[in-house]
């Protein structure tokens, strides 16, 4: 009798291992006195190591754990986006009250835990690994949202996210059960083969299953009409966490969205395309209209995120390689556009008494140009104006949509973008235009429920201004020289088709 140990591809698993070990180390360091202050530093090293290990596997697709995971360029590119967002969040968290109240070690360990979930989710190719990954991603986030413990809104945000998120997860799990029942497999490729002969519409079990999985994913990517939690949670969560969620969660959830529909269900594309197209259109309208009346910048970005999710979903609707390229490109661009804005919001939150209200950025253009520019560029890029990565991203999406015969959805994107100008430019106007400031309600010091400024000099802190400027520079750079990012995205698309 002999026992054969299964072959384990440690090289390909190394990013996951690095993150897991790193998260344990960061957590333990919290109780070791001399190391207590070093959590951010250690977290950054773990993220850098993981990114390095991922890049080493570039262009070398491997199936792992009997096909439950697949480390290909799509997984790597999405993981890199998530890691960049996490690194950004670590910088923004320096001197953030939430991180100090929750304990720096725990806070950063949770952040790493969420990144671990995202890296796994980007690779998931099996219903089980899919579900485990999405829970690994979500549970730390529920806690992180509530880490600003003396603020009621933060607690509310965490609880709301927990309840809505659990509902989403439950729906997802229920749908997976149906799908397994209908196709007889948990593996994406197996599902594809299992429903191959019956067809989608012929088998109610599979159809219900897919519908519920799609709804569960729509919850996670905040696609309307499953978006209601987004503005509330975004507003209540500590801002660095909001920044992280806005970019990384969306990226990771879209990765599995792509894999689920473009691998497991690619044969039935004709059946689900119209349904997703309608979801995308609804999301574009709801997000853009919802953002119009917001005065909290975080809520505004929350609704804008709903609309942007609608645009991105358009890339999935066409079920083509160009569509996936466009999604990955847009997500990478979204990283730059969104983080530039959040860096500025964090800085203003700490140095003014207005919190994240739009009044906090009033007159920023003459007061602190170094903060005004990143936010301006971010808003113009999100609005899709030229010479920013946002324009190229829209161009990419529209090209994919027209090519896939979904020109009407492209027109929806154009119309949605037009509506979105009204609120993006309102932020720009508040910063630069004297008349926009005078016409708004007069500022009353201390009117905001937020406490007094916690760091009157936050606008000069290099760990806030630096990342914001860097992200804004990226948004402009890739708007003028997009080809490197296009190459990056094309690798991702090529790994599935």
């Amino acid at each position: 009798m002999s026992f054969h140990a299964p072959h384990i591809d440690y090289a390909a698993l190394s990013p996951v291992i690095a993150l897991t070990v790193g998260l344990c180390v960061v957590l333990i360091s919290a109780v070791i006195g001399p190391l207590r202050r070093s959590a951010p530093m250690m977290t950054m090293s773990v993220l850098a190591a993981t990114a390095g290990l991922l890049i080493a596997q570039w262009d070398d697709p491997t199936n792992l754990v009997s096909g439950a995971l697949r480390l290909d360029d799509l997984a790597i590119s999405i993981s890199l986006i998530a890691i960049a967002a996490a690194a950004f969040a670590v910088l923004l968290s320096i001197r953030e009250p939430a991180a100090e109240q929750a304990g720096s070690g725990e806070y950063h360990a949770l952040l790493l835990g969420s990144v671990l979930g995202m890296v796994l989710l980007a690779q998931a190719q099996n219903l089980v690994s899919f579900f485990v990954a999405i829970e690994t991603l979500s549970i730390p986030l529920y806690i992180l949202c509530a880490t600003d413990m003396i603020r009621e809104k933060s607690l509310e945000s965490g609880l709301k996210y927990l309840i809505v998120g659990s509902l989403g997860s439950a729906t997802l799990l229920y749908g997976m059960a149906f799908l397994y029942g209908g196709s007889g497999s948990t593996d994406f490729l197996g599902i594809s083969a299992g429903i191959g002969h019956g067809g989608l519409l012929g088998d109610p079990l599979v159809l219900v299953g897919i519908g519920m999985v799609a709804v569960g994913l729509a919850f996670k990517t905040s696609i309307a009409p499953f978006h209601q939690w987004t503005p509330d949670v975004y507003e209540g969560a500590p801002t660095p966490i909001t920044a992280f969620m806005a970019v990384a969660t969306k990226a990771a959830a879209f990765a599995v969205f792509i894999r689920f529909f473009d691998v497991a269900l690619i044969g039935e594309a004709g059946d689900w395309q119209p349904a997703l197209a309608v979801l995308a259109a609804v999301s574009i309208v709801v997000g853009n209209v919802g953002a119009l009346g917001q005065s909290s910048l975080k809520r505004l970005l929350g609704y804008s995120g709903v609309a942007q999710a609608g645009y991105i979903l358009g890339g999935l609707v066409v079920a083509s390689e160009a569509g996936i390229n466009a999604i990955v490109f847009y997500l990478a661009g979204y990283l730059f556009m969104n983080l530039a804005a959040f860096g500025v919001i964090v800085a203003r939150e700490r140095e003014t008494a207005f919190g994240d209200d739009i009044r906090a950025v009033r007159g920023l253009g003459s007061e602190r140009p170094l903060l005004a520019w990143p936010l301006t560029i971010s808003m113009l890029a999100l609005a899709g104006l030229p010479a920013t990565v946002g324009f190229i991203g829209k161009l990419y999406l529209i090209e994919a949509l027209v090519e896939g015969d979904y020109t009407w959805l492209a027109v929806f994107i154009a119309v949605g973008t037009m509506i979105s100008l009204a609120y993006y430019l309102r932020v720009v106007a508040a910063m630069w235009m004297p008349s926009a400031q005078a016409s708004a309600t007069p500022a009353i010091a201390g009117a905001s429920p937020e406490a007094d400024p916690i760091d009157p000099d936050a606008g000069n802190r290099i760990y806030l201004v630096g990342p914001a400027l860097l992200a804004a520079a990226g948004a402009v750079f890739f708007g003028v020289i997009p080809q490197p990012l296009v190459d990056f995205a094309q690798h991702a698309g090529a790994s599935l088709f």
């Binding site: 253009g365 899709g384 010479a387 190229i392 926009a436």
Partner: protein
């Protein structure tokens, strides 16, 4: 050469950020002057007889998406480039003579605006054209909103500007979709290209042309603005700072008209023929409505604004006569109108500074002690009303000639626009320069600095009046090319009869 033309203004603007406040204005003027020099050099080296593009640059920009960085000069745009450079030089100099708030940002935006506008004129890749067309909005959003003036009881500058941006972007975002659709349909599964010349060789099917045509037309008609799509104009014109308005009204409106000649006629010939009457109707409505509004307004900015609506209506009519002479006249008239309207707004700025008001009723008698200003203004006025002897007369003559041959009924209606232009132009002149002078308004000669801005612009008008052939000779070949595609479409009746 053409690269340096495009990027010189922006480079000067960026370097200017590091200069002291005192110098920044002059630095910007230097930048626009250098650009104007390059534009003149381009014109000097322009071969008027040759067909096709000259001085081209063509580099793969985003190979993954089929977008090229492709620039070129031909008869259609060579004078519009020159117009841009000249008008920008004047507007920037006028602004530099005056104290500006936050001058670094102001002049950066002015220069970015010039780069974007030049880019829209010389882009030979459809997507690059759309990109520059949209990019023009960004600097003008800041210029109008941050340096504009709020109106008592009206919208604030930022609200007026937002309205303008939303209006303009409705058109240009749809244009983006249209441009991509054109390229993808034309590629038919093959390699995607956005090159305008390539796309013109194989126009897309008639059915596709019909809807794409309107996506483009919407963008261009809003930009002009044409009747029914001009809703943003009154508020934005009243909010804008005057030197900025001079370049905006002088140049940006022409990008729309130019777009028809560069993109719509060659790429969508069948739809152009099909919708010729509709566009002509819009153009006529613009002429009539613009003229009537111009002679009922008392705000001098709006007189300029509505007269532009009428003039752009003329230009559109000339283009959609779909004959070489009409389009020739349209190109000439684009340059003429730019040269007329820019000094007009600069004069308005000078007058408004003195009287403290922009209302006709509070002006008058200015000519008394200011014969030079009055003479300059008179030249501008006479050119506006297309006095025989002015280049505007030649332009309108060509346009009407083309229109007569194509659609005689429309020509008759358009002629009434010529008559009305005499009324509103002379009314503006009389009410500001003649009549009784209100006590509060000092009448004095223009300063040397303002004269430095105004005299060269007026000299350009005079020069063109003496020698309009300068433009006509160089544009004709390219204009014929542009119009040819549309006239070639379904054979006109006359040709059928000959067979």
């Amino acid at each position: 050469m053409i690269n340096s033309l495009l990027w010189t203004p922006l480079a000067f603007g960026l370097v200017g950020l590091f200069l002291p406040k005192r110098l920044i204005g002059w630095w910007a003027v230097l930048g626009t002057a250098v650009t104007a020099g390059i534009a003149i050099a381009l014109l000097a080296g322009f071969d008027s007889g040759a067909a096709g593009l000259q001085d081209t640059v063509d580099v793969n920009w985003i190979p993954g998406l089929g977008v090229d960085y492709s620039l070129g000069i031909d008869g259609l745009n060579v004078f519009l480039v020159l117009l841009t450079a000249v008008v920008w030089l004047g507007g920037t100099a006028f602004a530099a003579f005056r104290e500006q708030e936050r001058p670094h940002l102001f002049f950066l935006m002015m220069l970015l605006g010039e780069t974007a506008t030049l880019g829209a004129f010389i882009a030979q890749d459809l997507l690059l054209f759309v990109l520059f067309f949209d990019l023009m909005l960004v600097p003008f959003y800041f210029l109008f909103g941050a340096w504009g003036s709020d109106r008592e009881g009206g919208p604030t500058a930022s609200a007026a500007t937002l309205k303008m941006i939303v209006y303009t972007l409705i058109g240009s975002l749809l244009m983006l979709v249209g441009a991509i659709a054109t390229a993808i349909i034309a590629a038919d599964g093959g390699q995607i290209t956005f090159s305008i010349a390539e796309l013109a060789k194989h126009p897309v099917g008639d059915g596709s042309q019909q809807w794409i045509f309107w996506f483009f037309a919407a963008a261009f008609l809003v930009k002009m603005p044409a009747f029914l799509l001009h809703g943003w104009m009154p508020d934005a014109y009243r909010a804008a700072p005057l030197p900025v308005l001079a370049v905006f009204s002088g140049v940006l409106a022409k990008v729309g008209a130019y777009g028809f000649l560069r993109v719509v006629l060659p790429l969508f010939p069948a739809a152009t023929v099909q919708f010729q009457t509709v566009v002509l109707l819009i153009a006529l409505a613009s002429i009539l409505y613009g003229s009537v509004m111009a002679f009922t307004q008392t705000n001098v900015r709006l007189i300029g604004g509505y007269s532009s609506v009428a003039q752009l209506g003329f230009i559109t009519a000339g283009i959609f006569a779909l004959r070489a002479d009409g389009a020739d006249g349209a190109v000439l008239q684009m340059v003429n109108h730019g040269l007329v309207v820019a000094p007009l707004f600069i004069i308005v700025a000078i007058l408004a500074e003195r009287s403290g008001s922009e209302d006709l009723r509070e002006m008058g008698g200015m000519a008394m002690r200011a014969p030079v200003l009055a003479a300059l203004f008179l030249i501008v006025t006479l050119a506006t009303l297309a006095m025989p002897g002015s280049a505007n007369f030649i332009g309108e003559f060509y346009i009407l000639n083309g229109l007569f041959q194509a659609k005689i009924v429309f020509a008759f209606v358009a002629i009434s626009g010529v008559a009305m232009s005499a009324y509103y132009a002379l009314r503006l002149y009389q009410r500001t320069m003649h009549n009784r002078r209100p006590d509060s308004v000092p009448s004095r000669e223009i300063g040397l600095r303002d004269a430095l801005v105004l005299v060269p612009l007026v000299l350009c008008i005079v020069g063109l009046a003496l020698y309009p052939q300068l433009i006509l000779k160089r544009t004709d070949t390219s204009v014929q090319e542009s119009v040819a595609a549309a006239t070639r479409g379904p054979a006109p009746q006359a040709q059928l009869a000959k067979r």
